[in-house]
Amino acid sequence: MAVSGFEGFEKRLELHFFGDDPETFPLGLRKIDFESIQQVLEAVQCTVVSAVGNSYFDAYVLSE
């Protein structure tokens, strides 16, 4: 174990979805509310420390 408890090498997961409901688009997964995002991150053991978005996607910097 590192002195700092830190492991550099990341794990990376990419998930793609499809949907037939045009009402879901164009936002799609971006419609997931922040509380639900936090629930996902809780399972991973991370929290959001900073966030930004543009017209295409949302980006979150996470703890760890």
Partner: protein, 278 residues
């Protein structure tokens, strides 16, 4: 660590002893409520520096694959797991992919001329790594200290068009996400001597100036060891040569290059480099 949320895609990249794969179930659940169904999954990682510290399901690649196999829906039936080796037994690239085979992924993960590169760097130049330590009592927030590091290190010059969201951890460490239209980039840094590490990841097209980005990244960190994993639909040897030639003048020599093919026509090429001084 970073999370990117697109209308039909999420990318989540975490370090430390996080349990990344546990995000799959809740993500499928929340997406389902929006009428969205999982059609493709890709999991990648390098070799852990401290593998024994990793909690289940990250205790081994075998455990990770078993967990993925058990968690993702059965409609994602085209599956493949692979460990791509390098010349060093301690440095391999681990890949798991799954997709449903019935959707046209060509417009989703990778258009033919669009690629994703994942760069992992260790043994960073200690003088350069020092820039990722906070100063005692700097009176700054994580955001403002991060902004200062972005400018001080030249990270803002990798893609001058990108909107950058950066954060400096206390006492050290740094993360940033870049946004340039619909393209993301991300950097994570652990600067501590002895287990220093930095990563750079971005999406780009063959027409982009990837040479400029690669050179900037190498100049910012001066790693002793670096790996580049490139994922795209069409194998492009010219592109790989271009990437190797970009970093060679900066003292890095290509030591290994392996390719593997995955479902949905994705090709992954894993190149490793070490500093000539080694």
């Amino acid at each position: 660590s970073s999370l990117f949320v697109y209308p039909t895609k999420i990318i989540i990249k975490t370090c430390g002893t996080t349990q990344l794969l546990k995000s799959i179930d809740p993500m499928i659940h929340f997406a389902h409520h929006l009428g969205l169904t999982l059609c493709s999954c890709r999991y990648t990682r390098g070799s852990f520096i401290f593998p024994k510290s990793q909690p289940f399901p990250h205790s081994s690649f075998k455990d990770e694959v078993t967990y993925l196999e058990d968690t993702i829906p059965s409609n994602l039936c085209y599956r493949k797991a692979s460990i791509m080796p390098s010349k060093s037994s301690s440095h391999s690239w681990h890949v798991f992919t799954a997709n449903d085979g019935s959707h046209n992924h060509s417009h989703m993960p990778y258009d033919n001329d669009i690629f994703t590169i994942e760069i992992c760097m260790t043994e960073l130049d200690p003088i350069l790594a020092r820039k990722f330590f906070r100063r005692d009592g700097d009176g700054k927030t994580g955001d403002s200290a991060g902004k200062e590091m972005t400018e001080l290190t030249g990270i803002n010059e990798i893609n001058p068009n990108a909107l950058i969201c950066d954060f400096a951890f206390d006492p050290c460490g740094y993360s940033m996400n870049g946004m340039d239209g619909d393209w993301y980039s991300t950097i994570h840094v652990t600067p501590e001597d002895g287990f220093s590490y930095a990563s750079f990841e971005c999406v780009g097209s063959i027409n982009d100036d990837i040479v400029h980005a690669l050179r900037k990244v190498v100049q910012i960190f001066r790693p002793g060891t670096m790996s580049i994993s490139t994922t795209w639909n069409e194998y492009n040897n010219e592109m790989l040569t271009k990437m190797a030639k970009a970093v060679e003048p900066l003292g890095l020599k290509c030591r290994s290059c392996v390719m593997d093919q995955f479902p949905a026509e994705a090709n992954v090429v894993f190149q490793t480099f070490t500093a000539r001084r080694k």
